[in-house]
Subunit: 194 residues, 2 copies
Amino acid sequence: VLATALELIDAGPPEAFSMRRLADALGIGAMTLYGYVANKDELIEGATLLALAEVHTEPDPAAPWHAHIRAAMREVHDVTRRHPNLAALVVGQRLQAPGIFRIRERVLGVLLEAGFEEGAALRALGVLSYFALGFAGGQAGLAASGGAPPELPADEFPHLTGLADRYAEHASDAAFEHGLDLLLDGLRAQLSRG
Amino acid sequence: VLATALELIDAGPPEAFSMRRLADALGIGAMTLYGYVANKDELIEGATLLALAEVHTEPDPAAPWHAHIRAAMREVHDVTRRHPNLAALVVGQRLQAPGIFRIRERVLGVLLEAGFEEGAALRALGVLSYFALGFAGGQAGLAASGGAPPELPADEFPHLTGLADRYAEHASDAAFEHGLDLLLDGLRAQLSRG
DNA sequence: ACCTGAACACCGTTCAAGT
DNA sequence: ACCTGAACACCGTTCAAGT
């Protein structure tokens, strides 16, 4: 049930995913879905958990704290690469379901364990999470337009139009890793300063 | 017209903002709106430009490049603080209107001027923009729930529930500034390494 | 020229009815 | 017990008609 939901989400733009269309794809009545799931949010949560399970790798307990966080952020990033429409849907619906917070719980635990005090850990959590989520939204948006830059008037947007053919680099995997490096390097320096 | 749109957006949750309700609030027929604006996206773009104009401050030409970028990112942040529902709407609709790209154009220009080569400037642009946008979405979500943490089972989420009373700090202004510091410090170091 | 009601093709979800 | 059609209260937008 969730598997076909995920397929349908992958197949078309996020706004084309509806309870009615999913029911049609399953060959059942639209209302039968509500026997499996309480509402649309719960359905998206389920599909998200399924997608997250796809990319989850068991962390090496011996690895340093920043490697754990890097792994967690890469899970968010990988799931976005595989299922950009799902990422757009989660960001767009501002889903607050428990499943979405599992990674945040893990990251917060790692930060506290690493020695950050509570306030610093919470701030780091927000910075890391929203960077990853924002990047997910951006990458999903770019995927939706097939990597093409937005149509902008050249006179008002000389730099963006000048770099139009390289525009996709701004939301590339390398850019994601770069941002993650900047944030983690900064956090490591902060921690070692005490 | 755009002013009352912005008021209506501020008044209720993002999904409550519809062309029909706006027309009612203006005391006109729903279709009359299409005389002023081509569609809903264009309306939201207009409201966003209005909101951005509210917080815009003329940059000091003598300031260093990172101060310009900080100012630009603060504009995104300030607009989110004032109009969280608008931020949620822009992120949710994945708006690709030119108005949204003005700040990106400015930032890209500053980065190139500062000496970043094209690829590095684009990566930095993505990292900075999506951090700011992701944070905007997070802060809007937190505002929607009145700063309250999500309801999570304590046994599965010990850290998040343990820090529930301080949870709002993860999306605080201080957290935003912290993230911006980490990114800009890292970019400055990268630039001085050449 | 400017405005707009009815209509179209959709939504998520409730609720009472069917098997 | 499980499924579902009709219905409710909505959407954004088109289009032909009104002034």
